[in-house]
Point group: C2
Chain length 109, copies 2
DNA sequence: TACCGGTACCTAGCAACACCGAATACTCGA
DNA sequence: TCGAGTATTCGGTGTTGCTAGGTACCGGTA
């Protein structure tokens, strides 16, 4: 991916992570790995951890410390009610944006 | 719109403006008005002007100063070859992102 | 004339976010 | 013992959009 992606991810990455957590609880390392797997090849690890701290401080997720067999304990995040609400808003905003862009794309060709 | 939108616009707004310019040349004030019309209710004027300066400095657009009947002269921007190329990349990046998000949205429900 | 609103552009300072690079710490196999 | 994989944290940087002003030109109105 490129430099465009970096800027485009701003604000979107948060929604992506929350959407993942909406499906199932997960921890940072796992999320990073999954994202890389999905083609987000150069998402920095530090970015995900910082993001998780942020959403935790905003009270969108609950955290549980779970011991790991192969390394330091994991911090498993799960989306709570407030987070679900926030995610709904995210989808609304995203839809709005996606619609305008799709329109522009058609019109511009 | 909300604070989510502000962050989500980062990186995307540039593509939006370039996509507009791909359709027809335009000047800042006009673009701002059009965006407001399209529902981007709280995009600040200064934001657009700053963005236009940036894309000009990167050589993605050409500029022509055109006198106006009702105010200071307009700076009319038009997308050049390099800008068109850049816009193509933007659409590629956007498509990638939009696909992942659409998938997440389905899966998460 | 004086003033206001619409047109049109510009700028300095701020906050948020993703990235980079490095550090810490735990476990296991060579 | 040492490296590799697992797992998290942190300080500093660059880019971006927003805030909140300012400049300037024009027409109409009081």
């Amino acid at each position: 991916m490129g430099k465009q992606a970096t800027e485009m991810l701003k604000g979107t990455l948060e929604g992506i992570v929350l959407a993942i957590l909406a499906g199932r609880p997960a921890y940072g390392y796992e999320i990073t790995a999954w994202l890389r797997d999905q083609g987000f090849s150069d998402i920095a690890e530090g970015t995900i951890y910082a993001l998780l701290v942020r959403v935790e401080q905003r009270g969108l997720v609950d955290v549980a410390k779970v011991p790991s067999e192969k390394g330091p304990p994991r911090k498993v995040y799960s989306l709570n009610a407030q987070g679900r609400e926030y995610l709904e808003e995210f989808w609304t905003t995203w839809s709005f944006l996606a619609e305008r862009l799709e329109q522009l794309r058609k019109g511009g060709k």
